[in-house]
């Protein structure tokens, strides 16, 4: 692996770092196309976690002895690395959660319930993952504020024609950077300044973009950014919330317990400083070490290179599937590869997504059928379920060819 790996062949060589990609399914080599749900991880990440567990594990903070210092150091180094990876001005602004969902709930509970009430409004899009809808619906039901929706427009893009009206008087715009169904990359460079101009904060669900392209939260100008470790070569069990220090400092704690207090008496408690304030209990210690190793791996390849690789692969896939299946296939989302991520929501004529996925599995091809936790979007798309194929740095054109052949088979199987 070199830091300047840019050609498809070099990317193909990465596969050997991922033990699970060497396995077989039904006697066929595994073609893993479900990284949008959760990625696989390289040996380097697994090794880093094993090393932590076997040489440097103890509960973090508060310990004076060597193992506790080593574990605390590893955990805090992971925070520093994560902060640098996303361009956070201050590493204390990086809060480790269990997943992106907890990160978004943290914002909705702590910021939302404190700042929103009757007469207030927030803006979401119908393209959001349930993780960026339900926490707000729960808060709205409790606090009585309004949720306004940016709907889907043409070519898998948001309809921004009424943006100004929607933002007028709103206190928050919470929006995905990239749709996990359509691959649509939303124009944050336009939306964030517009929201700020209207006096609204911006929370970005960056689950699908942080793993696949360079991220700089300072340049982006967002107020909160949430993402998950397991979608970016890291382990399960860890997510990240980044927030502007000024906001985090003003917010009440979310979960209460050990590690988030500066004092507790039977009369009450005083919260500790950010980020401890938001990290109650034993944190995902070794998961943070794994995430740091994943970041090292990604940085060694280069996020620009990864993005470029995925654009090329997406372009190839759009062409190839059209060639192979013609009008029997519909691929939702933007038609221009550079405007989208490597997430293809596939509809095969006369074959239900569930059946597509099942037949593909018999070819060793892993794609996910269903609503992808985005039911409002599916409703606007007028579909019930799609079969989603999604790419990551370890995928190559061979994987796309296998996908295309398996889809053809599924189609002929059901079309007789």
């Amino acid at each position: 692996m070199t830091a300047t790996a840019t050609t498809a062949t070099t990317f193909a060589a990465l596969k050997k770092d991922f033990p699970i990609l060497q396995t077989q399914r039904h006697g066929k080599p595994l073609t893993f196309l479900d990284s949008a749900a959760s990625s696989q991880r390289p040996t380097q990440v697994l090794d880093a976690m094993n090393l932590a567990y076997t040489t440097a594990y103890a509960n973090v903070h508060r310990g004076v002895y060597g193992l506790a210092e080593a574990a605390t150091n590893a955990y805090e180094t992971a925070r520093l690395k994560t902060a640098r990876f996303i361009g956070a001005p201050d590493s204390s602004e990086v809060i480790f959660t269990k997943n992106a969902t907890e990160a978004l709930n943290l914002v909705a509970y702590s910021w939302g319930r404190t700042n929103l009430g009757p007469g207030d409004a927030i803006v979401l899009t119908t393209m959001e993952h349930h993780a960026n809808i339900v926490p707000w619906q729960m808060a709205a039901a409790e606090k009585g504020f309004e949720i306004r929706w940016i709907h889907l427009g043409q070519d898998g893009q948001l309809d921004l024609s009424t943006l100004d009206r929607l933002l007028d008087g709103a206190k928050m715009l919470s929006i995905t950077s990239m749709s996990n169904v359509l691959g649509t990359i939303n124009p944050l460079e336009h939306l964030i300044p517009a929201a700020h101009a209207a006096g609204a904060l911006v929370c970005v669900d960056a689950c699908q973009s942080v793993p696949h392209m360079p991220t700089n939260v300072a340049d982006m100008g967002a107020d909160f950014v949430a993402f998950s470790g397991h979608k970016m070569l890291g382990p399960s069990g860890i997510g990240v919330l980044w927030g502007r220090m000024e906001l985090l400092e003003a917010m009440p704690p979310f979960l209460g317990g050990g590690g988030m207090i500066s004092n507790v008496t039977i009369e009450g408690f005083m919260p500790d400083a950010v980020p401890s304030k938001f990290e109650a209990g034993t944190p995902p210690i070794v998961e943070a070490v794994g995430l740091a190793a994943a970041i090292d791996y990604l940085e060694a390849i280069g996020m620009e290179n990864i993005r470029q690789h995925e654009i090329e692969l997406t372009a190839y896939a759009l062409r190839k599937l059209r060639e192979e299946l013609g009008d029997n296939v519909t691929i939702h989302g933007p038609s221009e590869p550079a405007q989208r991520g490597g997430v293809l929501s596939i509809e095969l004529k006369d074959v239900h997504a569930h059946d597509v996925s099942q037949i593909l599995d018999s070819h060793g091809v892993a794609v996910r059928p269903g609503h992808h936790c985005a039911k409002p979007l599916m409703k606007e798309m007028g579909v019930n379920a799609t079969a989603r194929a999604s790419f990551y740095l370890y995928n190559d054109t061979n994987d796309v060819d296998t996908l295309a052949a398996a889809l053809s088979d599924a189609h002929s199987f059901f079309a007789i």
């Binding site: 239900h352 569930h354 059946d355 099942q358 018999s362 269903g370 019930n384 379920a385 199987f413 059901f414």
Partner: protein, 154 residues
């Protein structure tokens, strides 16, 4: 026969392409129940009319979903329409046994060859058991039928 061919037998695809008893019934007099698979978004709507003798005199099925859920619903409708509630529950039990699902609190009893024969077309769904996530697809219409029957008898 590969697992996948065993799953998608011709008779299943036939029910999928030409579902029996598809449609709606007016409620009332019909009883209606909706079933929902949150994992894949499949939906089944069962409409039925039960007469005083406990016979399912009419039954229609609506909804949408994958070949397994839709063909299972079609086969279910054919298997119970015109039959007694008792008979319908018997078939349900046999079919769930075929899907490796025991009644709540009971031990799983595998259906006998004789019982399976009585299932008719439904027996073709036995390949589903090798694909655990699809078992929910195959049983969705039955759970919905169960609800509709409970309601009609309530």
């Amino acid at each position: 026969m590969s697992d996948i061919e065993d799953l998608y037998r011709e008779i299943i695809l036939d029910h999928y392409r030409s579902p029996r008893n598809a449609g709606e019934l007016e409620t009332p007099p019909a009883t209606k129940a909706e079933g929902f698979n949150p994992l894949c978004g499949d939906e089944i709507v069962v409409y039925l009319i039960l007469d005083d003798a406990g016979i399912i005199t009419d039954l229609k099925v609506g909804g949408q979903g994958c070949s397994i859920s839709q063909s299972s619903a079609s086969m279910m409708s054919a298997a119970v329409k015109g039959k007694t509630v008792e008979h319908a529950r018997e078939v349900m039990k046999t079919f769930k046994g075929l899907m490796s699902i025991a009644e709540t609190g009971a031990e799983l009893t595998e259906p006998t060859p004789d019982e399976i024969r009585k299932l008719g077309d439904l027996a073709a769904l036995r390949g589903v058991v090798k694909f655990p996530t699809r078992i929910k697809c195959a049983t969705l219409s039955w759970n919905t039928l169960d609800e509709a029957l409970n309601e009609a008898q309530a």
